[in-house]
Symmetry: D2
Subunit: 151 residues, 4 copies
């Protein structure tokens, strides 16, 4: 999936997503970074450091979910104009396998955009140093579009 060429969002949209991401204290604190911003599709990578583990040394479900949630939210944001923000209404995620690997890659993909509500698919892969990938979590998320607060 990461192999195929990925369509990029326009530079203004990429900038808007990146700027918002950079204001998320949690993403910086976890060490996560945006690696792809396409129309309706965003990737976030999280290196598997000790700071994001659960008690067995795998990445914590909370960290796995955090990057999945952000990837879905930004995937939705790419589809709206600059006066819009999106908020997570809810999500559901299955942890399919221990989140092992050198890093995790979360992929948020818009399944159904809408004027008010948008639904995204969430996938998280564990990626080994040699590039081997395994689906470790899969989810579904509902987001709501709101007017951007005046600065």
């Amino acid at each position: 999936m990461a192999e195929q060429p990925q369509e990029q969002a326009s530079p203004p949209i990429q900038k808007r997503v990146q700027d918002s991401f950079d204001r998320q204290g949690l993403m910086t604190h976890l060490g996560a970074r945006l690696t792809h911003i396409g129309p309706g599709r965003v990737h976030i990578v999280l290196p598997a450091r000790a700071e994001v583990t659960q008690q067995h040394g795998y990445v914590h479900a909370g960290a796995t979910s955090a990057i999945a949630d952000s990837a879905g939210g930004y995937a939705a944001l790419t589809l709206f104009d600059e006066d819009s923000e999106v908020l997570t209404v809810e999500y559901k995620i299955n942890l399919l396998a221990p989140a092992a690997g050198e890093h995790l890659e979360a992929i948020g993909t818009v399944l159904k955009p809408g004027r008010t509500l948008t639904v995204c698919q969430l996938e998280v892969y564990g990626v080994q140093g040699d590039g081997a990938r395994m689906l470790v979590a899969n989810g579904q998320q509902t987001l709501i579009r709101v007017a951007r607060p005046a600065q």
Copy 2:
């Protein structure tokens, strides 16, 4: 809810839960701490620092979910013997209101224990400095009991 006296788990169970929590790199990294370990019920508090925010300065849904998920997992763990571990199978969480406050308090409560699967209710409150509380997230979680790996 926090006002009523809370039943405590036995000291060995409290120790087992605390030891496991202390091995969760993510909980330490986020600044979360266990504040109550009762039979089938665990509380986790997360101070609202800049390191756990989303782009608007509220606590990130990922951090909110992380403490909710851990609270549910440990609530289940209190019901099993020392040869058991629990893993999150899946959870669903609604973000009901901006996660504002001086700190968040996640409460995990076992709704239905089982030999294989256990279902927990997850609640997260935003707590102001004066003690005012507001439900900011509500969820439901499925866990599986597994044999503890030999040390």
Copy 3:
């Protein structure tokens, strides 16, 4: 829970909910009926007939979910004026035990009302002929308020 006296919604609201329920072909076809309409809380009873079973003779998860979904939707509807309708955005339900009994009782309760989105808790009990009750399903539902289509 069914023992405590239940607050009733106002007669016009009760009529509005009952009229809408009566237009749901599925509820009639399943044999379900409204048994309580309170403010933010609705009960629906489903007799356990062969027509609603799965392959082992218990009530089918689909029938269990159908009455839970309707109970939540009508619980939300009691809180809005007559120009509003509610639609289910999504729900998640855990099937906790085989849905056995003489009938099922679904209880939908508004957890967080909102101008646009409302979140409900869903519970379904299996009720024996002697009144013994067991929680057989528990869920969480998101609804959206929309303007009622002109008649």
Copy 4:
């Protein structure tokens, strides 16, 4: 999606799934029928009759969910031997659009099989008389494998 040739499950597996389906009183009562039984993938069709509607004349979310849940359950069952049964642990479903059409087609697909737990993706399409298709619901389901009760 329905256009591509579909791999069929072996005749004994097809028979086992069909026999179980035929014992589901609810599926018969709703008028649903199995239309494809492949390895890890099952389709169920539900004609849009008045008996399965909600108050606006669309198919009720409960009926939509019922066929989605059964499709996922049987998709999982195709992967196990005859001594196994599967039970739904939980599912989450988003209703993406009014469930309109001449009939609905639910597709259950195994996303992650497992010895104890299996996770399926659930999709429901509204299909018009001319074959036009629209995704009306999307979900995710967790199932547990259990030993088949002795007959």
